[in-house]
């Protein structure tokens, strides 16, 4: 059996080193092509008329004037009379025209009558007694649980207890399986009781989404020495991908569609377009060279991806481009659910945490959404949680880099930090004392906490809360912990060695800017023993072997595992052809630096090119797969830990918060490329500063519309907001041998909590909700002064 295991540190040439991103030259020179840059011959420009109301019924549509306009090639009603619209900005009519100005004029010429209906866009605390009891589950609710990484056994018991609203269709089961539902979960869905009456009941805006009790919380609170209570929260924010969502679709004949689409899920797109377009998935080709940001919001073709293809059909198959405008991107193309909670936590005098109670709520838009995994990281022995999901008209939620974890980190770490303050304990000492509650990752967190404290200079910077020396500017430090599951997604690839020595690798994956291309090439080159630039890598097309969507940070695990297996098999097959020429057995050969030689005897060798010529006339192609139980070991793993610390300065006159320094200490198992891994952490810290200080999707209760759907008032962190950043990747023993785990998501989970904690530390007062804007900071200070 060939040895597929990751080579140890002595036997690696590239894996675990610092390699520069391979696609950078194309990106810095403007040569890299994105979906938005694709200009197909005869391409038409699509525009969409959108509903201006948060909740409305379409009464009538008159497109006659638009249809007569010169240059207009297709008019397509997406949601016709009678349709109920649940958020402002939803698609009503699409047009395609010879250029963009003409398409815009055509949209203005369409008349639509709406009947406005009452809307709710608030996610404020639900009125007492308003929440509906948990009822039978919808497929969406089960999918939410998968997104939230609810353990399979818990899902099974919930499904058995609550039943389903209706029987799940074959397609829905397939979708759930693709989203990670285990066989046990699928079986539970199949045998669940069906409650058809539940679907006819008008749903309340407020629904009890979870209630659970562990241990004996009442007793634990009564016996505790110190109890701390607080209100914490984190609002809805948007993904704000710089390349907006959209696609260019054309019919190459009546039955075949070619789509360029901005997606995190190249291989998964045809399967989602086939049914609505009524053609087999195999007739749909999808291509994408580069993607300008996804962050969890680009897994589906979306309704606009489907109607772009339909509009193209109406326009005689001509290519039609629909890319969302910036305001639409912010309004409808992605939002992270909010989470708020009243939390009570208790400890013994020595700092041992004994009990947790939370009443939480939040919205994920029309779907409501689930409870974040609280208490987070720390498995407090006695707990009681209740969560109310708010269904409202703000637009749909989407997975946002580490779904539910940033929310959980804020609700948990801020509450625990306040408890530490009440105990008069240094948070590092307090959290350190409770690390046994993190169970199997205790040692990782302990090591990381020590390193982070050193890198931050925590001992010198920490002072009891609110006792900062103040001259109008006060400083503070904060800490947070986070985790993520991970593992590698399903991934196939074809590696071909040609008789002339050239090598190509094809895989239907995508590179979100996370370094996917670079990591694939590093693994292939390291395994084959040739330079990275000797391998031609082709990704981003459905004509290549399928590879999973880039979600849950499972890409690097998946693509490196399939690449490793393909490269080992290809190398060994080549050695079998070459061995006779060197009069040895194949297993006595090795390839290093492009030279195939007898192990321990470099005088017996062939150049790579000479070796490949032994293949004869035909190239050698092997398929690598992940997972592949026939080719052990599993090269991936699950579960990582990270610790982050932040230092801030608060101007008590203006309320402005400035982050001065952030430290991220991150474990991700075996690191393939240290350089791009660090890049992920730097980026996550910056994204974290952005949502901690600035980002919020602000909804107008009167009109139901988003008030800041542009990049001036939906503020992202800019150059002047970036402090000193320190990133430390955990490597070596205890990390490398666990295999490739995850990275994209974990480091973005903690910054909100760490920054909130440092502000609390600096000012001696908790600003309950993110973002920590000057008005919120001043309000909290005033409240403290008045208390």
């Amino acid at each position: 059996m060939p040895d597929y295991a990751w080579p140890d540190a002595q036997h690696r040439t590239l894996i675990g080193t610092r390699v520069t991103r391979v696609d950078s030259p194309a990106k810095v020179s403007g040569q890299a092509k994105y979906t938005y840059d694709v200009h197909r011959p005869g391409m038409l420009y699509g525009k969409v008329l959108r509903c201006p109301y948060a909740h409305a019924k379409v009464v009538s549509i008159d497109t006659s004037a638009a249809e007569k306009m010169p240059g207009v090639k297709a008019v397509h009603i997406v949601q016709g009379p009678g349709a109920n619209i649940h958020w402002a900005g939803d698609d009503i009519v699409a047009v395609a025209a010879v250029d963009e100005p003409t398409a815009e004029d055509a949209i203005r010429a369409i008349k639509v009558k709406f009947q406005q209906l009452p809307h709710l866009v608030s996610d404020a605390e639900p009125p007492k007694g308003s929440a509906q009891e948990e009822g039978p589950l919808s497929v969406d609710a089960i999918d939410d649980m998968l997104d939230n990484q609810v353990p399979a056994n818990q899902m099974v018991s919930t499904i058995q207890r609550d039943g389903l609203v209706k029987k799940a269709s074959e397609d829905e089961l397939k979708m759930l399986k693709a989203d990670g539902a285990t066989d046990a979960v699928l079986e539970a869905i199949g045998s669940a009781t069906i409650h058809p009456e539940a679907s006819s009941k008008p749903p309340s805006n407020y629904q009890k989404a979870a209630a659970q009790t562990l241990g004996e919380p009442d007793k634990a609170f009564a016996e505790a020495d110190v109890v701390s209570e607080g209100l914490y929260g984190i609002p809805v924010i948007t993904h704000c991908c710089l390349e907006s969502h959209g696609s260019i679709s054309e019919w190459t004949d009546q039955e075949h569609l070619f789509t360029h689409i901005s997606t995190q899920n190249v291989s998964g797109i045809p399967g989602q377009m086939a049914e609505p377009l009524k053609i087999p998935a195999t007739n749909i080709r999808v291509h994408q060279d580069n993607i300008g940001g996804g962050f969890g919001s680009k897994f589906s073709p979306d309704r606009w991806g489907i109607f772009t293809a339909e509009v193209s059909k109406k326009a005689g198959g001509k290519p039609v481009r629909v890319m969302l405008e910036r305001d639409t991107e912010l309004k409808v193309a992605g939002a992270r659910p909010s989470a708020y909670a009243r939390v009570k936590v208790a400890a013994k005098k020595d700092g041992t945490v004994v009990a947790w109670q939370s009443n939480s709520w939040g919205t994920g838009g029309p779907g409501g959404g689930g409870m974040p995994p609280i208490p987070y990281v720390f498995n407090i022995p006695n707990q009681r949680q209740e969560h109310t999901a708010i269904r409202n008209n703000i637009g749909p939620a989407r997975a946002w880099r580490a779904p539910n974890h940033p929310q959980a980190a804020v609700l948990t770490m801020c509450a625990l930090d306040d408890l530490a303050a009440k105990l008069n304990m240094d948070p590092v000492e307090f959290f350190g004392k409770n690390l046994n509650l993190t169970k199997q990752r205790e040692n990782i967190y302990r090591e990381e906490l020590g390193i982070a404290s050193e890198l931050m200079g925590w001992k010198q910077k920490w002072h009891p809360r609110g006792q900062a020396p103040s001259d109008g500017m006060v400083r503070g430090v904060g800490v947070s912990f986070h985790t993520w599951g991970g593992r590698g997604h399903a991934s196939d690839c074809d590696l071909t060695i040609h008789p002339d020595g050239s090598v190509d690798l094809k895989m239907g994956t995508q590179d979100l800017g996370t370094g996917t291309r670079t990591c694939i090439l590093m693994v292939a080159a390291d395994t084959l023993g040739i330079p990275m630039d000797a391998i031609q890598l082709q990704i981003g097309d459905t004509t290549y072997p399928p590879s999973g969507g880039s979600g849950g940070s499972t890409t690097i695990g998946g693509v490196t595992s399939s690449t490793r297996r393909a490269a080992v098999d290809a190398r060994d097959a080549l050695f079998a052809k070459v061995a006779p020429a060197l009069s040895v057995q194949p297993d006595q050969l090795e390839c290093v630096n492009g030279k195939v030689s007898v192990k321990g005897d470099s005088s017996h060798s062939l150049s790579w090119k000479e070796a490949c010529s032994k293949l004869g006339a035909m190239p050698l192609t092997v398929r690598g797969k992940n997972p592949d139980k026939s080719k052990p070991p599993d090269l991936t793993n699950s579960g990582v830990g990270g610790v982050q610390m932040a230092e801030v300065e608060v101007d008590t006159d203006t309320g402005i918060v400035k982050v001065k320094k952030m430290v991220a200490v991150q474990d991700c198992g075996l690191v393939i490329d240290i350089k791009t891994a660090e890049g992920q952490c730097y980026g996550a810290l910056i994204m974290g500063i952005s949502y901690a200080l600035f980002e919020e999707k602000v909804m107008d209760p009167a009109t139901g519309r988003m008030l800041n759907a542009d990049m001036q008032f939906y503020r992202l962190a800019g150059f002047s907001d970036i402090p000193e950043l320190v990133v430390h990747m955990m490597t070596g023993k205890g990390y490398d041998e666990r295999g490739v785990i995850v990275l994209g998501e974990p480091p973005v989970e903690s910054p909100g909590a760490a920054i909130s904690n440092e502000v609390a530390h600096a000012k001696g007062v908790r600003v309950p909700f993110l973002p920590l804007t000057p008005d919120r900071v001043l309000a909290a200070l005033e409240q403290k002064a008045g208390a």
Binding site: T20, R21, S24, P25, A26, K27, V28, S29, G30, Q31, A32, K33, Y34, Y36, D37, H39, K68, M69, P70, G71, K73, V98, D99, E100, P101, T102, D105, R108, A109, C240, C241, L242, E243, S244, N290, G292, G293, F295, E325, R326, L512, G513, T514, K675, G679, Y682, G683, I686, M687, S690, D710, M711, Q712, L716, A717, G718, F719, S720, I722, L725
Partner: protein
């Protein structure tokens, strides 16, 4: 729907001298009266002077981009960014906010950085324009680009071309910037992946070596 949009057949002879308002244009278009799609300016009297008025149809335009001449028939409302991207296949500059907030569309006009999403193509005529595509010479990256590569100044890369142009212009003006200069000078570009740290290192790298 008509098919005559690409080859206008009716010349502009009979319009009134005041030009056609957008509202009139829509009305006329709606009833399928042919309107001129490429036309020279009409002269109107405004504040005692003769002023040329272009449009609302397409107008012939000429540009000087990256040292080459480009021609196109465009409506006066088309931005420089859309002209670059949709007419001339120069797609390095990106359309992101489309209203001068994010800097992804940054190009040089008269050797100064501009947000090309907020410059009308008709006003950019005959002014020297340089896009990110002009920075590479003989297949070799510009030192600023090379520094971006080495210091990992891009992730998804969608903001990168705008940032590269801004950084090049900034370093031309401030060859030895202080950290404060950098913070202020590059605040006009935004990144979502959070590549500022790599870009900051890239600038320091070039400033140290000299571009």
């Amino acid at each position: 729907m008509r098919d005559d949009d690409e080859n206008p057949k009716v010349p502009n002879e009979n319009s009134e001298s005041s030009g056609v308002s957008r509202r009139d244009f829509l009305k006329i278009s709606g009833i399928s009266v042919a309107v001129p799609l490429v036309a020279g300016p009409k002269m109107v009297m405004a504040a005692g002077q003769e002023v040329p008025v272009y449009g609302p149809g397409k107008v012939p335009m000429e540009f000087a981009i990256n040292g080459k001449n480009y021609k196109a028939n465009l409506e006066p409302r088309v931005t420089l960014l859309d002209a670059l991207r949709d007419q001339f296949e120069l797609t390095g500059a990106k359309r992101v906010c489309d209203r001068a907030e994010c800097g992804a569309c940054t190009v040089l006009m008269d050797n100064k950085t501009v947000y090309s999403c907020s410059v009308l193509a008709i006003e950019a005529q005959h002014k020297p324009i340089a896009t990110v595509e002009s920075l590479m010479q003989d297949g070799k990256l510009h030192p600023v680009q090379q520094a971006f590569v080495e210091n990992d100044g891009s992730q998804c890369g969608f903001c990168t071309p705008g940032f590269v142009v801004s950084c090049k212009a900034f370093l031309d003006k401030h060859p030895h910037p202080t950290p404060e200069d950098i913070r202020r000078g590059l605040s006009g570009n935004l990144c979502r992946c959070g590549t500022y740290d790599g870009i900051r290192k890239a600038i320091a790298h070039v400033a140290q070596k000299g571009a």
